[in-house]
């Protein structure tokens, strides 16, 4: 692997594959928290191993290789998540709808006659609220594909034409 090391500074610098998105770099850096600080450079990264790690040149190179491996894995995970976002949303929405139907039938069960409707509504409302508040990751309702609203003639228009809801990583990576 092509990299340059600075043992005194515990640093190793190398170029990364252009196919790797910035989001994957962030995810890999997150996974390396506690082992190394990660700095982005022009077209590459610089890792600074944790103090006291005592890594020699070979150790730093091995750290770089491991990080590179993590980058590839994170980029694949990013692509898989992005290309399947709508599939996952559809799957989970279907499951929740089926569950809601099941609950509707449940409510008529005389065994459960002592439950108050308000309490059931309250729990359902909280779960809905919590799900709406979730902002990271890829649950239903999240992501560019889901950020749509009613447009003219029944067509969905983006609700966020200026992309003010997009995280900076998404914008700068685009």
């Amino acid at each position: 692997m092509n990299c340059s090391t600075d043992i005194k500074q515990r640093r190793v610098t190398f170029e990364i594959d252009k196919a790797i998105d910035e989001e994957a770099v962030l995810a890999a850096a997150h996974a390396f928290a506690g082992r190394a600080e990660v700095w982005t450079t022009d077209g590459g990264v610089e890792l600074e191993a944790q103090e006291g790690s005592g890594l020699d040149a070979a150790g730093l190179e091995s750290l770089a290789e491991e990080f590179n491996e993590e980058l590839v894995a994170q980029e694949l995970r990013r692509r898989i998540a992005a290309s399947n976002r709508s599939v996952r949303e559809y799957l989970i929405t279907q499951a929740l709808l089926a569950a809601a139907n099941e609950q509707g039938q449940h409510a008529t069960d005389p065994q459960l006659g002592n439950l108050t409707g308000d309490q059931e509504d309250e729990i359902a409302r909280l779960i809905r609220e919590a799900e709406q508040e979730l902002s990271g990751g890829d649950l239903p309702g999240k992501g560019a594909a889901a950020v749509t609203g009613e447009g003219g003639e029944g067509q969905d228009e983006p609700l966020d034409p200026k992309e003010i809801l997009k995280a900076w990583e998404e914008k700068s990576g685009a």
């Binding site: 997150h30 998540a81 290309s83 799957l91 989970i92 499951a95 309490q119 059931e120 919590a130 979730l134």
Partner: protein
Amino acid sequence: MREAALAQALEKDLPESVGPVFFRKIGPRYLLTNDAGSHLWLEQDPFLSFLRGELEKETPLWNDLAAGGFLGNYMNFEVLGGRWRQRTKYLQEGAGLHLVALTRRNSQGSPYAARPAAGLDDHQFDMTLALARRLAKFIFDSPSSEITLELRGGDPLLNWDVLTFLARHASSFAGSVKRKLRIAAVSPLASLTDEQAAFLAEFKIAVAVPFDGPRDLHDSLRPDLEGGSGWERTLAGVARLRKAGVEPEGFFTVTRGALGRAPDVIAAYRDAGFDAIRVRAPWPAGDARSRWKEIGVGAAAYSEFYRELLDGVLALEAQGIPFREKGAASLLGKILLGTDCGAVEHRLLYGGGLGELAYDYNGDVYPSDEARALASADGDALFRMGSTDLGFANLVGHPTVRALAVASDLGGQPTCSRCAYKPYCGVSPVYNRAAQGSLQGRNPTNDRCGSYLGTFDALFERLRDEKTKTVFERWARAEEYRQGEPLPPFLSGGLL
């Protein structure tokens, strides 16, 4: 270069056939999982072919991938959605698990003992009968048709009048409002009498006991405050309870003194007559925090101990001696049976408040018992929500509960959202607060996450062996939580 093979998959866009899959490299091969809970092992070359859309159709491997829901263009949404629903049924249910701390008093020390420490005669730290009466009624305000009432402490047996009152009245309330009720208690059993054992048997109260295995380990972690041996008194209580017909289960917390001693721990459990153990990782809280260097265990050491213990237990099974690790059995239920194991800490959203409520001896209500125990061990009352006067709806809708749900959402946690163990795992913001000072935590340096990674790795690696898989299936069935029954006791996370 090690990553060279997989990097080939980055050369072009992913094909449609790559469905919503999580993956993790363990040793030379890849474990694939998905939200429906399917899992499949692939060697490196087939995995690469999968990522490049180069798999031959209708081969056994292709069929396995299709059946598991891994192929994006061959997904049966009805079946996969049904599996997801089955695994997350708890999202449709209310708080059915109620944990009540009857007293702070305890005759044995604990790494998480309450502060200030309550003397054995210090009845100011006992729940009163008047409060217990209100609680017995309150827990049936839960919309859940199945209720689990778990009595904790200190040692709940030391507040015996209140324990018997709650057991009697909760049972009679359950009968009159036609709810299913399960009662349980966690106690060191150090002061258990024959009469008490008979009562526990009569009311079918399940009992768990913190037991650290070898005598020296138990006595150093849970010394008897009256000068005897906590180990001896606990074992005497276990024997008394068995005589009354109640089989307790043992909790084992992995601490530094246990490292390298997994065989001793198993032997001590067997000598004490247990045919199972439930292994837990320690928390940096209370006394354990201030003594962390002496008793604390990080994720790597925990995982190593866990693998040793699991192999020791499996070696017994291979000799025809049934013995199981109950924590593994619960997780295996999620992996092998596709059901929810009933553990409120292994959910898409943390179950504190949504699946569980906890009550302190003085009536303070917390979203979970670990939140209550953190307040009593550390004086950190961040999660205290108020009292039952707030009413059920206001407690489960409390901003604290919402904050916990948002902080723990696995889809929002940067590492969890793409982790291969996401379908089976869960996050505890209460642990994160104790260990890392924030609700979200930071998984790469979080020992709870690291311990779960180690645990899941150990389970999945061993699942590749057919004989072990048969044993694991038996364990999973033995601990299976059936929908429509009260949540199993002793699964709420926390400090014991």
